[in-house]
Amino acid sequence: MTQLNITAKKASATAGSTATAPFLEVRDLTVKFPTDDGVVSAVNGMDFSLERGQTLGIVGESGSGKSVTSQALMGLLKGTSAQVTGRAMFQGRDLVTLPESAMRPLRGRNIGMIFQDPLSALHPFYTVGHQIAEAYLVHNKASKKQARAAAVDMLGRVGIPSPEQRYDEYPHHFSGGMRQRAMIAMALICEPELLIADEPTTALDVTVQAQILDLMSELQEETNSALILITHDLGVVAEVCDNVLVMYGGQCVESGPVDEIFYDTQHPYTLGLLNSMPTLNSASSRLNPIPGQPPSLLDLPKGCIFSARCQYAELAGDGVCASQRPELRVEDGHGKRCHLSGPQIITIRNSR
């Protein structure tokens, strides 16, 4: 996927037309947290790009660096001990080096964010409406009355019944799904061009999950915004994403269009993830987890980060998986970070 965007850009540039950079282009994004025990390498060189109207799914297990990536993009790590390096070009500005004072007007206005647990992400002491109107007032010169009208309208648009009354209720009066709708209303009230949703459906039950996903897709279409969907739920990814980026140990291990990730899987970790999903017609009644633990981010292995858990590490030969970190190789928009060759992967896939 990354390669695809780059080649497209080069092609248009050589064609002499007005070349436009990708809407969001992340290059070698790295986030490190110095702690008493050493440096935690949470994100280790992320590359991706995204256009308006597209949805990028970032998938990975807990601690793989998904949320840290999104927080780095939002500039929420500025002012903390985190060390963020690399580039994240957004509308001609580098979100990594942008100072906090210049970042703040972008937050909420150009980049919106939806969080995992809407109960803890909403302030318990202020009414839902007030919190939404507040987001509107920061970025718009408007009276309180206008802000209220905008918030009520937004509450209606995200499907909250009788928004005029619900405006004055507190988050604890709302059900989980309604809270997440309110959260979405807050993130979208200024119609940001980029929306980052950090596990937006994880805290919700399955029927509500589907409604929230539909709502997000709908609103995204309306505003033609770009959406980064962070999740560990492959079902969610299959449903809404155009492109997928699989993260492991703070690195992208596989990326590409959603169909290719699911039906032409190139990385043993992605295979493991797909395999661990229970299916209705699976013969075994047990789950198929990937054995082992994710690596410690304090002390990443020298070789492939996944090698310790990879069942096929010997296939590459010479112990190369344990000694040498594979590069992200991109072919036809499908990237993988693995020493195994394409035919080897196909053999593995077929043997399952």
């Binding site: 939002m74 007007p105 909420g108 302030h123 002491f125 507190y170 959260m183």
Partner: protein, 333 residues
């Protein structure tokens, strides 16, 4: 909200009734004989018996208690039959020592205690919450370490140490402040607010050093926890100004434990800061209580005990109401 207030006030009345009964019982069961104490040292057993009748202590317990409670609502007669005197409302009995109305004694002492409590309260709230917040915002920095260190020192300094040190330094050595006088009991007196502040500044500082230390620690801990909450991250991601994030979203959520502490401490302090009043010779409730207790002046001791309990209970109700005002979730119950 209205029913909430009514319910809390109702429980307040019940609690006060219970406290008055327990206090009264305790003093009845106590080992000291107030009649003997009131009579003096060289008293014949006959004179003690007379004193007992005069004080109404020959009556059954419940009659005495009923009389006492009646005095809270109307004037009543006290003393031996035939030699009764009027005790005007609110009647808390008469001092065994001076035969003065206890309510008058308390009325005289209260302004001193109020003066001391209010100033100290303002001082330690500002320094305690302010420094605690600063430390939380600069977590891990030298500023934070200095404030936490200072708080540890402050909390381990007892009032007799700080009080005497302040007196020695500012009154004896530097002559910057006058020694506390009992002529000033309010900022509205003839000497004016300036003299009032100068008179109570040292006791305020002594109390503030002790109290702000624990306020710094509680504020710091709670604010650090609150600043790590998801809703703070949400507030930042909306693009709110740092000031709005810190105060509107952070402080309001993190300050509730401090409000609880504040309520309890006000209640306790209004009941009389015994040590502080002794050291600075402020004739407030604590000072009066100590002297009454030493001389076995039962009605005065009893009244001050009940008043102190009253302040603590009222403070508790006020804290509950403040909680409901701050946190909408409390109003649910």
């Amino acid at each position: 909200m209205m029913t909430f207030i009514l319910r809390r006030t109702g429980s307040l009345v019940l609690l006060l009734a219970a406290v008055s009964f327990i206090t009264f019982t305790l003093f009845q069961l106590g080992p000291s004989d107030p009649a003997a104490a009131a009579c003096g040292q060289e008293c014949t057993p006959e004179r003690v018996a007379e004193a007992r009748v005069a004080l109404g202590m020959d009556q059954p317990f419940f009659v005495q208690y009923a009389d006492y409670i009646r005095g809270l609502f109307s004037s009543r007669m006290v003393g031996a039959p035939g030699a009764q005197t009027l005790c005007e409302w609110p009647c808390l009995g008469k001092s065994f020592q001076t035969n003065e109305n206890v309510a008058d004694i308390i009325g005289r002492s209260l302004p001193y205690t109020f003066s001391m409590a209010i100033g100290a309260l303002v001082l330690w709230t500002i320094t305690g919450v302010g420094l605690g917040l600063l430390a939380a915002l600069r977590k891990g920095s030298p500023v934070d370490k200095f404030i936490v260190g200072a708080a540890s020192v402050g909390v381990s300094l007892p009032i007799p140490v700080t009080g005497l040190f302040l007196l020695l330094l500012f009154v004896n050595q530097l002559h910057l402040l006058p020694f506390t006088t009992n002529e000033i009991s309010s900022p509205f007196g003839p000497q004016g607010p300036g003299a009032w502040v100068a008179n109570y500044l040292l006791p305020w500082i002594a109390l503030a050093v002790l109290f702000s230390a624990s306020y710094i620690r509680v504020t710091r801990t709670n604010m650090i926890e609150t600043f790590g909450e998801d809703f703070i991250r949400t507030a930042r991601s909306k693009g709110l100004a740092p000031r709005t994030v810190t105060f509107k979203h952070g402080v309001r959520a993190g300050i509730t434990p401090v409000v609880t502490m504040l309520g309890m401490d006000i209640g306790l302090l209004l009941g009389g800061a015994v040590l502080t009043e002794q050291i600075f010779s402020v004739p407030g409730l604590g000072f009066t209580a100590v002297h009454a207790a030493i001389s076995g002046d039962l009605p005065v001791t009893m009244a001050i005990t009940m008043l102190a309990a009253f302040f603590v209970i009222v403070a508790n109700v006020v804290v509950d109401l403040a909680y409901a005002a701050i946190d909408p979730r409390v109003r649910l119950q």
